[in-house]
C-alpha cells in the first residue's frame, strides 16, 4: 500500500464492492429506521432524524481523528498516500459536521421551539466545523501541495489536542449558563428495534466515508503525480 500506483490499482478494485455494501447497509438501515421501527411515544415520528443525525455526528469526530492520524503519518514518514487521505478527509468531515448541525437544528425545532439553541453538543459541533474550515482554508492557501499537506497535518494535530479541551469547556459553559438540563440527545435507553437500524446506518456512513475519501484521494494522487510514469501509463491505456 506504500506506493501511489499500487494504492491506485488496489483501491480501484475494491471500490465497486465497497459501494455495493454501503448501498445495502444504508438501504436496510433506512428501511428499518423509517418503516420498521415504531414511533417514539414522546417525540412521535420526528425522532427518526436520529438515523441521519447521530451517525453524522459520530462521523464528524471520527473523520477528524482519521485526518489527524494520517496527517501525522505523512508528517513523520513522508508517506504520500497518508498525506492525500488526510487532506481528502477534510471536506468530507466538514460535510458530515454540517449535516449533523443541520439535522440537529431540524430536530431541535419541534423540541425547543427554535432552530438554534446553544446546546453543548451543537456548540461543540459548530466549533468542530470551524476547525475543519480552518484546515480546508489553510490547504487552499498554500500553493505547493506537499508543503500544504505538512501545514494541514500540524494544524490537525493541534486541533486534535484541543478538541477535548474545547468540548470540556463548552460543556462546562453550558451547564453554567443553562443549569443541569437534560439534553435531548441523551437517550437513557433505546429500544432494540430502534438501535439496530441506527447501527446499520452508522456502518453505512463509515463505508460512505471510506468510499468518498478513496475517490478523492485517487483524484488528488493523480493530480500530484501527473508528471510521473505510472500516471502517463494509465492515460495511455485509456
Amino acid at each position: 500500500m506504500g506506493s501511489p500506483p499500487h494504492f491506485y490499482r488496489f483501491t480501484g478494485k475494491i471500490l465497486p464492492w465497497l459501494s455495493l455494501l454501503c448501498a445495502l447497509l444504508i438501504a436496510t438501515g433506512l428501511w428499518g429506521g423509517l418503516v420498521e421501527a415504531p414511533a417514539d411515544y414522546q417525540q412521535g415520528d420526528s425522532f427518526r432524524i436520529i438515523y441521519v443525525h447521530v451517525p453524522s455526528a459520530w462521523m464528524s469526530l471520527f473523520v477528524y481523528v482519521v485526518m489527524a492520524v494520517c496527517g501525522a503519518i505523512g508528517l513523520i514518514w513522508h508517506m504520500k498516500n497518508a498525506e492525500v487521505i488526510a487532506i481528502s478527509s477534510a471536506p468530507i468531515g466538514a460535510s458530515f459536521t454540517f449535516l449533523a448541525l443541520v439535522t440537529g437544528s431540524l430536530w431541535g425545532k419541534p423540541m425547543w421551539g427554535s432552530w438554534w439553541v446553544w446546546d453543548a453538543r451543537l456548540t461543540s459541533e459548530l466549533i468542530l466545523l470551524f476547525l475543519y474550515l480552518g484546515v480546508i482554508g489553510l490547504y487552499a492557501a498554500i500553493e505547493d501541495k506537499r508543503t500544504a499537506s505538512r501545514a494541514v497535518a500540524i494544524l490537525a494535530l493541534v486541533g486534535l489536542v484541543n478538541i477535548p479541551i474545547i468540548h470540556y469547556s463548552v460543556e462546562w459553559w453550558n451547564t453554567l449558563h443553562q443549569g443541569p438540563t437534560v439534553t435531548k440527545f441523551d437517550k437513557p435507553s433505546i429500544h432494540v428495534s430502534m438501535l439496530i437500524p441506527l447501527l446499520l446506518m452508522a456502518g453505512g456512513f463509515k463505508l460512505f466515508y471510506l468510499i468518498s475519501v478513496l475517490i478523492r484521494a485517487r483524484g488528488e494522487l493523480i493530480e500530484r503525480e501527473s508528471n510521473s510514469n505510472w500516471v502517463s501509463e494509465l492515460l495511455e491505456k485509456r
Partner: protein, 216 residues
C-alpha cells in the same frame, strides 16, 4: 557538545556526504541521484542556470528544505537527526542577509554570536576585517546594500563553523567587498574548513582547488 582542540583532530572527519539526492519542485525534477563528498579544506562550487535548483540544493544541505529522497550525512550521521548539533558547525548565508534593520551593527553581530557557537574573535577585529570599523553603533538599515552584505558575512567570523554554505555571497558587493569575501573563504579552507557555494562571479582563489558541480 563537540569540543574543539585535540579531541577533534583524532577523530576521523568524513565531513559532508551526500548520496542519491533527489529534489523536485511543482512535480518537476530539479536534480536526481546527486552524490558527492566534501572533506576538510575542500570547496564545492555549484553551477547551473537560473532555476536549475542551486538554491534548493543549498537549502537542502542546510536542512531547511526537505529532499524527496536521498541522504545527507555529516560526520556519518544524518543531518536530520543531528539537528542543532549540525547547525552549530554550519553557517549559512542565503539570498536574504538575515540582519535586523532596527538593530545596530554591533547588536547584529552579538546576536549572531549567541545563536551559533561563538568564536573568540572580538567585535573590533570582525569589523576591521569586513571594513566596517566605526559602524558599531549605526543601525543596520542605514547601511548600503554592500555594507549589509558584509555585515551578513560577519556571521562567518563571529561563529566557529566548519561548514560554510554560501548562496551568492558576492551579491551587491563591490570589488573590494568581493576581495574581502574571497580572503575569508580561502583562509577558512586553509584552516581545514569546508565551503559549498554558488556564484555568478569568477573567483580568484590562488592555491585553492575548486570542485565544480553542474546542475542542468
Amino acid at each position: 557538545m563537540l569540543m574543539s582542540g585535540p579531541d577533534q583532530q583524532q577523530r576521523a572527519e568524513p565531513g559532508l556526504t551526500v548520496s542519491g539526492l533527489h529534489c523536485s519542485r511543482d512535480g518537476r525534477d530539479l536534480f536526481k541521484d546527486l552524490s558527492f563528498r566534501l572533506r576538510a579544506g575542500e570547496l564545492l562550487v555549484v553551477e547551473g542556470r537560473n532555476g536549475s535548483g542551486k538554491t534548493s540544493l543549498l537549502r537542502i544541505l542546510c536542512g531547511i528544505r526537505m529532499q524527496e529522497s536521498g541522504s545527507i550525512n555529516w560526520d556519518d550521521s544524518p543531518i536530520g537527526e543531528l539537528g542543532p548539533l549540525y547547525h552549530q558547525e554550519m553557517a549559512y548565508i542565503g539570498h536574504h542577509d538575515g540582519i535586523k534593520g532596527d538593530l545596530t551593527v554591533a547588536e547584529n553581530i552579538q546576536l549572531a554570536k549567541a545563536l551559533g557557537k561563538p568564536s573568540g574573535t572580538d567585535l573590533q577585529t570582525i569589523l576591521k576585517r569586513l571594513q566596517l570599523s566605526g559602524y558599531n553603533e549605526v543601525l543596520a538599515r542605514a547601511l548600503s546594500a554592500g555594507q549589509k552584505r558584509r555585515l551578513a558575512l560577519s556571521r562567518l567570523l563571529a561563529t566557529v563553523s566548519r561548514l560554510w554554505i554560501l548562496d551568492e555571497p558576492f551579491t551587491s558587493l563591490d570589488r573590494r567587498g568581493v576581495e574581502i569575501c574571497e580572503q575569508l573563504i580561502s583562509s577558512h579552507l586553509t584552516h581545514g574548513g569546508m565551503v559549498v557555494m554558488t556564484s555568478h562571479h569568477a573567483m580568484e582563489l590562488p592555491g585553492v582547488e575548486i570542485t565544480r558541480l553542474r546542475l542542468s
